[in-house]
Amino acid sequence: MSKVKLVTSEGEIVEVDIEVASKSVLIKGMIDDSGVEEEIPLPNVKRNILQKIIDFCTYIKDNSPPEIEKPLKSNNLNDVTTPWYAEFVNLDQEVLFELILAANYLDIKPLLELACAKVASLIKNRSIPEIRKFFNIENDFTPEEEAQIMEENKWAEESF
C-alpha cells in the first residue's frame, strides 16, 4: 500500500498509509491536489498526538465510528460507546485538548465528536466550583460579581 509522508511540529517525518491518512479531510484534500510525493507539513500537530490520530484512523478503517447519542446519557463513556473508544480518550486533559485541536485542524469528524464527548462527560454532573478546579480556571471575579453570576444561573446548579 502506498504511503504519504507527514511532518510533525518537531520536524519528524512519519510515513502513513494513504487510506489511513485520508480519514483526515484536510490531508485527503492535499493528496488530491498535489499527490503523495510531497511531504505534508503539520506544524500544529505533535508527534505523540499524531500517533494517537494514526491509531484512531487505522481503527475506523475497519470498524464503525463511535456513534455517541446526544445529549450524553451517562458520564461514563463505556455506557454510550464501545470499550475501545472509551479507552482511547481516557487521557490527561492536556493531551485530550491537543487531540481535539488536532482533530479540528485535520478535519476528522468522528474523532472530534468522540473527544468532545469526553470533555462533555467531564463537565456533566459536576458543580461549578468542581469544574473550575478541574479545568484549572482561575477565578478573577470579585465576590460580588461572582455572586451575581451564580444567582442568575442558580437553577442550573441545583438538582432538578
Partner: protein, 463 residues
C-alpha cells in the same frame, strides 16, 4: 480530580483558550450536554472571562425545553423564563418543546395550569417575534385521550404558524417560507392543520397521537420537497386523506409511518406504490396486511436504501414471504421491528442475522414461534446492535446465547474488536421469556456491566 503541575499550567490554559475560541469545538461539546450543563458551560465561559456571549456560542440557536429533565415545577418555570430571556436577541433555527413529564404532570395539567399557560404564552410571543430563521418546530404535549385539554396551547401555536406561513422577504425581495420540519404530538386543532397545509417547503411532517383532529386540509399540502410523513395514533386522519397527501407529493416521499388499523390490504399496496425510494416505513397495526403487501414491498425497495422497517402485528403475513424479503442484503438497515408477527420463524431471523449486519436495534417481541437459531445468528453477526427486544419468546432458551459467550471467552483479552453483539448491546429485554435462566443473565451482566438487561419479571438484572 487530577491536578496539573505548575510548569504545565500555562500551556494547559493556552489549549483551553484555543479550544473555546473555536465555535465548532464549543458547539460539538455543548451538543453532548443537557440543558442544565449548557447553563453551566455559559458560567464557565463567563468565569473564564472569554467574553463568549450566548449569541457567539450559537447555543441558543437550537432551543430545547424538556419538562422531563425537571422534578420541580417552579424550577421548570424558572427555566422557561431563563430561556425566554436568553433568546431575546437570537433568531433560533430549531425549537423543541417537550411537555411529557411524569413528575410535573399534575402541576402542568391541573394544579398550576393557568400559571403554566402564562409562561408559555410569553415564550411563544418571543418566538413569534424572533421566528425569521426558524426551520424546525417540534412540540410534544403530554398524552391526552379524548378531551381537548391542550386546545389552549394550540391557540398559542396558531399565530406562530400563521407568521411562518406568511414567510419572510429575502434579499431579492421575494417572499419565502423557511419552515422545513414540523412535528407535533398530542396537540392539534383543525385550525393548526389548516395553517400547516400551507407550508410549501416542508421536508418532514409528523402529526402524532392527535386523536381528535381530522385530516381534510391535508389534501391542500403541496410541498416541493416533502420526504417524511408520520400520522401514528392520529386515528381520525383517514386513509384517503393520507393517500391523497402522498399522491400530491409523490415522487418525493421516502419515509412513511401510519397506524394501518383501518386500512384494507389492497390500500397498503396502493400507498407504497406512491412512495419513492423507500428509506423508512412503519406500520403499527398490520393486522390487515397480507403476503401480497410484502411481495409488493419487496419489488419496490432497494436493498441499499432501506434504513428503518417497522411492521407490527402482521398476523397474516407468512414466514415464506418474510424469508423471501430478507433473502436480500440490507446493508443500511438500522432499525427493524417485527413485534407480534406471529408467523415468523427462525429461518427468517437467521437470514436477518446474515443480511442485516448493520442493525442498531432489533425488536421481535411476542414472535412466539422463535426458538434459538435465529437469535444465535443475530448475536454472532450483528456486532453494532445496541437494543434487542425479545419479550415473550416462549421457546427461546439459553442455548441462543451460548455460542456468543463461548466466542467471548476465546477472545478474552481482545478489546480491539467487537467480538459479538454482546459487546455492543446497551439494552436487552427478555421479559416473559420462560426458558432463559437467571444464571445466564447474571453471566452476561458480569461481563458487560454497562448493558441494561431485563429479566423474566421485567426487573433490571443487578449484580
Amino acid at each position: 480530580m487530577v491536578d496539573i503541575a505548575d510548569s504545565q499550567k500555562l500551556s494547559f490554559k493556552t489549549h483551553l483558550r484555543n479550544l473555546l475560541a473555536s465555535k465548532l469545538i464549543v458547539k460539538e461539546i455543548v451538543d453532548f450536554l443537557s440543558i442544565r450543563d449548557i447553563a453551566k458551560s455559559e458560567i464557565i465561559a463567563k468565569l473564564f472571562k472569554e467574553r463568549l456571549s450566548s449569541t457567539q456560542l450559537n447555543i441558543y440557536n437550537n432551543v430545547v425545553i424538556k419538562a422531563s429533565e425537571f422534578q420541580d415545577f417552579n424550577k421548570f418555570l424558572t427555566f422557561i423564563d431563563w430561556y425566554q430571556n436568553r433568546i431575546e436577541s437570537v433568531y433560533p433555527q430549531t425549537f423543541f418543546l417537550c411537555i411529557n413529564s411524569y413528575y410535573l404532570k399534575e402541576d402542568i395539567q391541573e394544579l398550576q395550569r393557568p400559571l403554566f399557560l402564562s409562561y408559555l404564552e410569553k415564550l411563544f410571543a418571543r418566538l413569534i417575534s424572533n421566528s425569521k430563521n426558524l426551520i424546525s418546530l417540534r412540540i410534544n404535549m403530554a398524552r391526552q385521550h379524548g378531551d381537548r385539554i391542550n386546545d389552549p396551547l394550540c391557540d398559542l401555536l396558531v399565530p406562530l404558524l400563521k407568521q411562518l406561513v406568511s414567510g419572510i422577504i429575502d434579499e431579492q425581495g421575494q417572499i419565502v417560507q423557511n419552515m422545513q420540519e414540523l412535528w407535533i404530538e398530542s396537540m392539534a386543532t383543525v385550525e393548526m392543520i389548516k395553517q400547516i397545509s400551507q407550508f410549501e417547503s416542508l421536508k418532514l411532517l409528523k402529526i402524532i397521537n392527535c386523536t381528535y383532529v381530522t385530516g381534510e386540509f391535508l389534501r391542500n399540502l403541496r410541498s416541493n420537497n416533502l420526504r417524511t410523513l408520520d400520522f401514528r395514533s392520529s386515528y381520525q386522519i383517514e386513509f384517503n386523506q393520507i393517500l391523497e397527501c402522498v399522491q400530491n407529493n409523490s415522487g418525493t416521499i421516502n419515509n412513511l409511518y401510519v397506524d394501518g388499523e383501518y386500512v384494507k390490504a389492497q390500500q397498503f399496496v396502493e400507498l407504497i406504490q406512491n412512495l419513492k425510494n423507500i428509506q423508512e416505513l412503519g406500520i403499527f397495526f398490520g393486522q390487515k396486511l397480507k403476503d401480497s403487501f410484502l411481495f409488493e414491498l419487496n419489488q419496490k425497495v432497494t436493498g441499499e436504501s432501506l434504513r428503518i422497517f417497522k411492521m407490527r402485528k402482521a398476523y397474516k403475513v407468512n414466514n415464506q414471504i418474510l424469508n423471501l424479503f430478507f433473502t436480500r442484503c440490507f446493508p443500511n438497515l438500522r432499525k427493524l421491528k417485527l413485534d407480534e408477527c406471529r408467523n415468523i420463524q427462525d429461518s427468517t431471523v437467521v437470514l436477518i442475522g446474515t443480511n442485516c449486519q448493520k442493525l442498531r436495534s432489533l425488536s421481535l417481541n411476542w414472535c412466539q414461534q422463535l426458538k434459538s437459531d435465529g437469535i444465535e445468528k443475530v448475536l454472532l453477526n450483528c456486532k453494532l446492535l445496541k437494543k434487542l427486544n425479545l419479550v415473550g419468546l416462549k421457546l427461546l432458551q439459553d442455548q441462543a446465547f451460548e455460542r456468543a459467550i463461548q466466542i467471548e471467552e476465546e477472545k478474552k483479552n481482545d478489546i480491539h474488536e467487537l467480538r459479538t453483539a454482546l459487546d455492543s448491546l446497551k439494552l436487552m429485554n427478555l421479559a416473559s421469556c420462560d426458558y432463559v435462566s437467571d444464571t445466564l443473565l447474571y453471566k452476561i451482566k458480569r461481563n458487560h456491566r454497562s448493558m441494561v438487561i431485563f429479566n423474566y419479571y421485567q426487573d433490571e438484572v443487578e449484580l
